[in-house]
């Protein structure tokens, strides 16, 4: 599963880790994140993320 980087603050969403502080279980792909999920560091929306190369 691909990692995604926040274009605003540089936070990396790693599907293997998830975002448990915000109720996202490990193993959740970026696409499967809810539409209103926000960057846990800076609050950016999902469309502010790009796939990590």
């Amino acid at each position: 599963m691909d990692k995604y980087v926040c274009n605003i603050c540089g936070y990396v969403y790693d599907p293997e880790v998830g975002d448990e502080d915000n109720g996202v279980q490990p193993g959740t792909s970026f696409d499967a994140l809810p539409d209103d999920w926000q960057c846990p560091v800076c609050g950016a929306e999902k469309d502010d993320f790009s796939k990590e190369d």
Binding site: I8, C9, V41, G43, A44, D48
Partner: protein, 398 residues
């Protein structure tokens, strides 16, 4: 500085730092101020503190208005130490158990700066706090410019306490935009270029939200520099303009040089750009400060970067400038590279790779000259400059 009443019962009580010239690598030729705001109501509130070392000025100013022990609530809009450094002294003076309001990220971040177990209240975006005759609203402004950043808005006075946003590194007895005049805009622009440019898209969204919410903003109180009371719309409009990053018909030729060869190239390229009717400025890196260079980058269309080759690499000061520039994410630029070299000449390729990484539109090929440029070499630099000038003009014709 003495406390200054901004609105009935609202005071500016912060400190002036006349002598600072290097603010974490940003040149502050006019010093700065660490602004702190006191609101005296049924509950008395202090918004932000000062940098460590300036607490005496702050406590003294507060004491001229009210006994610090009578402060009921501390609000931290921003964790960075130029505003939180005074917290230990202030919390000690007002009472360690007094509530300390901050954003949720502010709570996390302050806890990693200070080990005291303060009585934190992490607020939600839009949460309100009644302090008697006034209602304060907390507005999360994450990444403007730290994750913890927030604004505090006072509806009754129409005051936006905007943390670092709309600030300027400027020390002066003038406290307001109407007192200082238009010269302050250059300081505000430099602040934007060096602290906020990379969050331009966030700023545009925030301004849209604020305009949609129809907050009445009569006065903006930033944490540095003067207060915008005569025309707060002016600085908001400037932020929108700077955030859009629509370049002007302007180029800068930023370079360093060892034996004046790259300098000769820089001046010839600048001449070529000028001949195309584009405003241009050659900037020698070691004669300027990186934060001054960034202010020029802000509205330039073409960023032309020159480096001699040193030990098979880029000249270190050029790497400094490019690293700094890249972090601030300038948008919509044209880029070009040049440089003199002795035997290997890697620098032009390396500079160009950095400009490409910033997604600049590159004018190729970069100009390389071995050892000292002769007349033909300089003529080729003028021609390269013309090519760059034409690219700037075609952008402006679009």
């Amino acid at each position: 500085m003495k406390p200054v009443e901004i609105s009935k019962g609202v005071y500016s009580v912060g400190a002036i730092d006349w002598n600072i010239r290097d603010f974490h690598g940003y040149s502050t030729e006019r010093g700065t101020s660490y602004n702190s705001f006191l609101i005296v109501d049924e509950k008395t509130v202090l918004i932000d503190t000062v940098k460590k070392g300036f607490e005496d000025q702050l406590i003294d100013n507060i004491s001229q208005v009210i006994d610090p022990k009578k402060i009921d609530i501390m609000i931290s809009n921003h964790t960075e130490m130029d505003h939180s450094g005074g917290l230990p002294r202030v919390m000690h003076a007002i009472g360690e158990q007094k509530p300390l309001y901050c954003s949720k990220m502010g709570f996390k971040n302050l806890s990693q700066h200070f080990r005291q177990q303060w009585n934190y209240h992490g607020v939600e975006n839009g949460e309100e706090l009644n302090i008697g005759s006034r209602n304060l609203t907390f507005l999360e402004t994450r990444m403007l410019h730290w994750p913890d950043s927030m604004f505090t808005y006072c509806k009754e006075d129409g005051i936006l306490f905007s943390s670092d946003a709309f600030g300027q590194h400027y020390a002066g007895f003038e406290m307001f935009d109407d007192a200082v005049g238009h010269t302050i805009m250059a300081h505000a622009k430099k602040y934007f270029a060096n602290i906020l440019m990379l969050y331009a898209s966030k700023i545009l969204k925030l301004v849209e939200q604020v305009q949609a919410s129809q907050l009445q903003i009569k006065t903006i109180c930033p944490d540095h520099g003067i207060i915008w009371r005569k025309d707060p719309g002016k600085i908001i409009d400037a932020y929108v303009k700077w955030s859009r990053q629509i370049p002007e018909k302007k180029a800068i030729v930023v370079y360093d040089t060892m034996w004046h060869s790259t300098e000769k190239m820089a001046n010839a390229i600048a001449e070529g750009i000028y001949l195309e009717g584009v405003a241009v400025k050659p900037i020698h890196i070691r004669s300027s400060h990186r934060s001054e260079i960034m202010t020029e980058v802000q509205d330039a269309c073409a960023i032309v970067v020159g480096s001699p080759t040193l030990n098979n690499g880029m000249f270190p000061t050029v790497a400094d400038t490019l690293t700094y520039m890249k972090g601030l994410k300038p948008q919509n630029k044209i880029g070009a590279a040049f440089g003199s070299f002795g035997w290997s000449g890697e620098s032009v390729k390396l500079v160009q790779a950095e400009l490409e990484a910033m997604k600049f539109q590159i004018i190729e090929p970069g100009a390389r000259i071995q050892y000292v440029p002769d007349d033909a070499g300089l003529a080729s630099c003028v021609a390269f400059g013309k090519q760059i000038g034409q690219a700037v003009n075609s952008r402006n014709d679009e």
